[in-house]
Symmetry: C4
Subunit: 280 residues, 4 copies
Amino acid sequence: MAQKAPFKRNRLKEQIHEIIFEADTTLGKIFDVALLIIISASVLVVMLESVSYIQRDYEDLFFVLEWIFTIFFTIEYLLRLYCVYKPMKYATSFYGVVDLLAILPTYLSLLLPGNTHYLIVIRAFRLIRIFRIFKLGHFMKEGNIIIKALKASRAKITVFLTFVMLLVIIIGSVMYLVEGGSNEAFSSIPRSIYWAIVTLTTVGYGDITPQTELGQLLSAVVMILGYAIIAVPTGIVSAEMISADDDHPSNTQACRFCGREGHADDAVYCKYCGNILNEP
Amino acid sequence: MAQKAPFKRNRLKEQIHEIIFEADTTLGKIFDVALLIIISASVLVVMLESVSYIQRDYEDLFFVLEWIFTIFFTIEYLLRLYCVYKPMKYATSFYGVVDLLAILPTYLSLLLPGNTHYLIVIRAFRLIRIFRIFKLGHFMKEGNIIIKALKASRAKITVFLTFVMLLVIIIGSVMYLVEGGSNEAFSSIPRSIYWAIVTLTTVGYGDITPQTELGQLLSAVVMILGYAIIAVPTGIVSAEMISADDDHPSNTQACRFCGREGHADDAVYCKYCGNILNEP
Amino acid sequence: MAQKAPFKRNRLKEQIHEIIFEADTTLGKIFDVALLIIISASVLVVMLESVSYIQRDYEDLFFVLEWIFTIFFTIEYLLRLYCVYKPMKYATSFYGVVDLLAILPTYLSLLLPGNTHYLIVIRAFRLIRIFRIFKLGHFMKEGNIIIKALKASRAKITVFLTFVMLLVIIIGSVMYLVEGGSNEAFSSIPRSIYWAIVTLTTVGYGDITPQTELGQLLSAVVMILGYAIIAVPTGIVSAEMISADDDHPSNTQACRFCGREGHADDAVYCKYCGNILNEP
Amino acid sequence: MAQKAPFKRNRLKEQIHEIIFEADTTLGKIFDVALLIIISASVLVVMLESVSYIQRDYEDLFFVLEWIFTIFFTIEYLLRLYCVYKPMKYATSFYGVVDLLAILPTYLSLLLPGNTHYLIVIRAFRLIRIFRIFKLGHFMKEGNIIIKALKASRAKITVFLTFVMLLVIIIGSVMYLVEGGSNEAFSSIPRSIYWAIVTLTTVGYGDITPQTELGQLLSAVVMILGYAIIAVPTGIVSAEMISADDDHPSNTQACRFCGREGHADDAVYCKYCGNILNEP
């Protein structure tokens, strides 16, 4: 890499890049951890600001912290823009937009002092930054197994969710027909579908409940159904998780004659060229 | 197939059949996707019509859309009847009846203008058409594994559900005896059974809750029981899903020299004696 | 068995025994199915009797049905007593007691006409008879796998439930300390434990909910905990269900020299006596 | 051990130590069971004392029992201190502190007769003693498998819970923005996050429910998501539980003649070359 950077400036760029974007060096790790602590703190401030009686008592403190976070994030954003070779590519990337959205609201509040409610909406995007936590890579190996298992079961889960969707529409419509007349809570099909989802997922708020006897009978059937259905995604993911676990690096022996790998553990002869394999 | 259709008319019939009933050709796929979009749109209209304030504002639009969908579905239904060799068989099949029920209500509304509520009941049958989505066959391979696993575990799940049914009847009766006297919500055994299902499936609406201390103790036992019981269907489906995954057709090739089997699919030489294997 | 019955009377006894107690013969199966239908009907009547407005309208019908069921069950009970070799053993067995309790309440109602509420309590024992359904043995093979898996995981589930019990006591006590002062719903430790069970099992009635912020934070932790904990019994039963499925009859090859079985599929020589095995 | 104790006193110490701290001897087991019964009884008394109407009726009985338990636990604590070689190490250990906290509140109640509410807080520490139940080691083998499986899946579950945490923060913030204005229940982000946890874990109290249509749509998505997500920890633990079950110490014996491994535990002759194996 050093050969590609003949003058001093790029050296600096590269060093900043290594600290900010990578987590391999000690300094890079320290930066990442510090960044995460500041992001978490800024998220905590956004949360606490939303609690009216805390906001009333600590308004000034929150105002100061808000600006400290914003200035820090602004410097970080500018450094990121500076040290990458293609600033536009970063600026238009997912994290680039999120990083910008994290600092914009505070500056906008100067221009639009009254309309703060909508700024909170945008400020909430700062929360997405918290996903940078996964960059730390500490748990990455474990996370990869989960992601791998989920990816492998994606198609099955899509089919399953499509089926659940259709089921929920039908259950909701039937319940609308059964309960709709006498029960205010089932006043429309979308509300009935909402009820069906609440019931089938076993969340069960209880804000909408069947009142007629037929409705209670039907919802009992839906619950028993949900009981059997909940087993499906669990079965899917369990099966994938087990096979993901089984992907241990298999026999690494290579044939001395043809050099090919992938021999079974009990193989005596190379299955590709027929020559004898080394004694394991 | 062309040999079986000596005059022009059947050629047309076959072409329409291929487009409407099959999804192998480009035109057939386009038709299927278009049909699904229209079905979904018609389902959406049925849903929105049930929301009183939307219905009030867009009554005329819904009326027009209703007739557009109905006319489209009528043409589709007639074409289906026309292009199949045995129209009666299609007309009396499951989807044939559903397709008819999807268009009938709108025509009936001309004859019975006042009694629209019952027509909504029939119109809801249109929802079942949405299951045609599965004809697209896009996800079918994945869906088949789920269906296969569910079919394989059908007997076990039936036993399990029978057991849950009996358990729920007994729990409901006991709770009726315990709570029935002092708690209006447990006023009959069927209602108590409804409560038992709501509790055992962990839905927990909270519309019926035990009030006496003995009732709360019993329901705590029921919940802990439900906790252990929920593991059973999940275990059943997981086990089947894993074995459904494992059912790859394994290589049945045997070595001509040593007769041993269990060779990998890409093996050229026998891994036990080193002789060349048959071409697969 | 015929040798043990030298005179005609015992022949009759045996035939009745075969019909009533066994389900191998056609007549025995018919009897079992008929019995189940009558038991189900009698259970249904008990249920419907508990619904006040149905009971009001059909009081006379229920009275007649009650006596028909009771007389039938009485005859059945007497026949059972008659045809077994050791009547006392049957009379004191689990099903013997249940069978007696199923007929006693109706006769007692003649002696104690007023106090019917307590008779319903005893009549509910009739429900337990419904478990005779499992005698039909139709699904028994499948049921046995479930029971086998549950028995194999019994020890693990006991440990798990003990742990959950202790956890629930501690969570309940802590929540009593946190919420007890300000929230009427957490007025005692047993009630708080009831809440902890409702929450940890994800039933979530909502009749008792934390009101203080610390209480809500703690209950959020409890829920996340419950999320992770629910995985444990499922994992236990899944693992057992899979190994119960795997119990296929392994290699049935027996050595020609020592006669011992249990050889691996790829074994060439007997692992017990060292002689060569038959070619599989 | 006897050689290390030349004078009589240490003999006594060791005997007490064996009874109190170990569960290998008959006397040790009797002591452990007796201790558990007394701990359970004392926990039960603490629980019942919290129920106001029971406390009113049995105040004197509870007072006497309280002192009996305290005196017993005091003697036990002093004996433990006496018989260990390093009393300070025990006194500062987890169970040492818990054992002290179990007796302290009753003595403090003599000094501070009025302020009983805070004493209940400390008295609740007695509950922690109940974990001594696990010392019985009766189910330990089974418990170890569970603990082993949970330990093995710890990293994955940490990643999963971190992800759930972030998800819940984002869902809570979005719902605060959507519902916050019109719905009093979503008055702050922390409350909305509490709602998100209640919903995602399918507990579903129903004390906070979305009222706007957009809010209900979003929460339906959250529930469906929770449905898919609940499969992940179950899959993780199932996979680990299965592999924990499979971890039988496999035979590491290799044949002296052909050097091949993988022999069954009961194998006498090598299954590959027929030569006799070493005595295990």
